[in-house]
């Protein structure tokens, strides 16, 4: 399984790092990509990721109202929603993508997110594209 997590430097990445320090276990299937801000993510990246073999995607940004770059996390949310509807229109399950909010000192929350995406992955199965090939 390939689960890509787009994590913002300020919150997502820091929390993931903290999870590691606290020896909280999460699946090695999760690959992290560090962004300056969740708002950097674009719909095109998300769609492309599926074509390149990702099974699940998530974006982890700062808590609502707390974005280090003001409202980047709001923009990320809207784009995730847009990507979800495109997936649904194409017959894929929108739950393959998700937006999460957390704070830099919430290593436990990062593990929760990772576990949730793994749970969904086993429920939804691999990317339908892979199956076709």
């Amino acid at each position: 399984m390939k689960i890509i997590g787009y994590v913002c430097s300020h919150a997502g990445y820091a929390a993931a790092d903290l999870a590691g320090e606290e020896r909280l276990q999460y699946s090695p299937d999760i690959i992290l990509i560090r962004l300056p801000c969740a708002g950097r993510i674009d719909v095109v990246h998300l769609l492309k990721a599926f074509r390149e073999g990702a099974d699940m995607l998530f974006v982890a940004g700062c808590l609502e109202g707390n974005c280090h770059h003001h409202y980047g996390n709001h923009e990320a949310r809207k784009r995730i929603d847009q990507a979800k509807s495109i997936l649904e229109a194409l017959g894929m399950d929108g739950r393959r993508i998700e937006m999460f909010y957390l704070a830099s000192n919430q290593g436990w929350k990062f593990k929760e997110i990772a576990d949730e995406m793994m749970r969904r992955a086993s429920e939804l199965g691999p990317n339908p594209l892979e199956v076709k090939e």
Partner: protein, 231 residues
């Protein structure tokens, strides 16, 4: 500006059945501003089509290009190379753009990816409102700068009708009553006297009712000789 909305993805995919080499093209003008057909939207649509193709084993080749404007031949000619390699073009520019491409490239099938809607303006981010009725005989000076043709659901010239209540139109959807707005605008301008005038039945010839409109600027029209001179 011209305001439109992309057709649902399913509809676009259905139109493309039977085609293989697809060019997605948008425009940097109006449709970019209403976030329907600009470069960004072209990118997202192209990627969505590729994903659709991969999911269903279609083997589509999808290319992208965003013209500066899609209503002028000079700009649309820039598509030549890509069109030559395509058997279908999906345009998410306005209906004018799609038609310009088809006229310039009669052999390739041009499909409208956009539902062109109206002439309007952005009200706030993400919200675009119809503003101009394109009637060809503007009466904004009589209505305090508010178009009664298209902002009044009944296109009245001696409004409001009896369904106007609390500043809203009877059709609902939180549509403002244009005539209430006109009243207040003329009040602020100190010109309520204009509302006492009986406006007679409108001449609709300059509007869509008179047939496809053609407007000529004689000072710019070239004679045959002039066309030859310019090569």
């Amino acid at each position: 500006m011209i305001i439109g909305e992309q057709k649902p993805l399913q509809e676009i995919c259905a139109m493309l059945e039977g085609h293989q080499r697809i060019l997605v093209t948008g425009c940097r003008s109006c449709v970019a501003i209403c976030l329907a057909g600009g470069e960004k939207e072209v990118g997202i649509l192209a990627e969505s089509l590729r994903l659709h193709s991969d999911l269903r084993g279609r083997n589509w080749e999808v290319t992208e290009f965003t013209t500066e404007r899609q209503c002028e031949k000079e700009w649309v000619r820039e598509l030549s190379d890509l069109v030559a390699k395509s058997d279908a073009v999906v345009s998410i520019a306005c209906g004018v753009g799609a038609q310009t491409i088809q006229a310039l490239f009669p052999e390739v099938r041009v499909l409208p990816g956009l539902n062109t809607s109206n002439m309007g303006a952005p009200e706030e981010p993400g919200v675009f409102m119809e503003k101009c009725g394109g009637c060809g005989d503007c009466v904004l000076h009589l209505t305090g700068g508010i178009c009664p043709i298209v902002r009044c659901a009944k296109g009245m010239l001696n409004g409001p009708c009896g369904g106007s209540q609390n500043g809203k139109c009877e059709i609902g959807h939180d549509t403002p009553c244009a005539w209430e707005e006109i009243y207040h605008s003329l009040e602020r301008l100190g010109r309520l006297d204009l509302l006492e005038e009986l406006i007679p039945p409108k001449n609709w010839l300059p509007s869509r009712s008179g047939g496809p409109r053609r407007i000529i600027r004689p000072e710019a029209v070239l004679t045959r000789e002039e066309k030859e001179m310019r090569g």
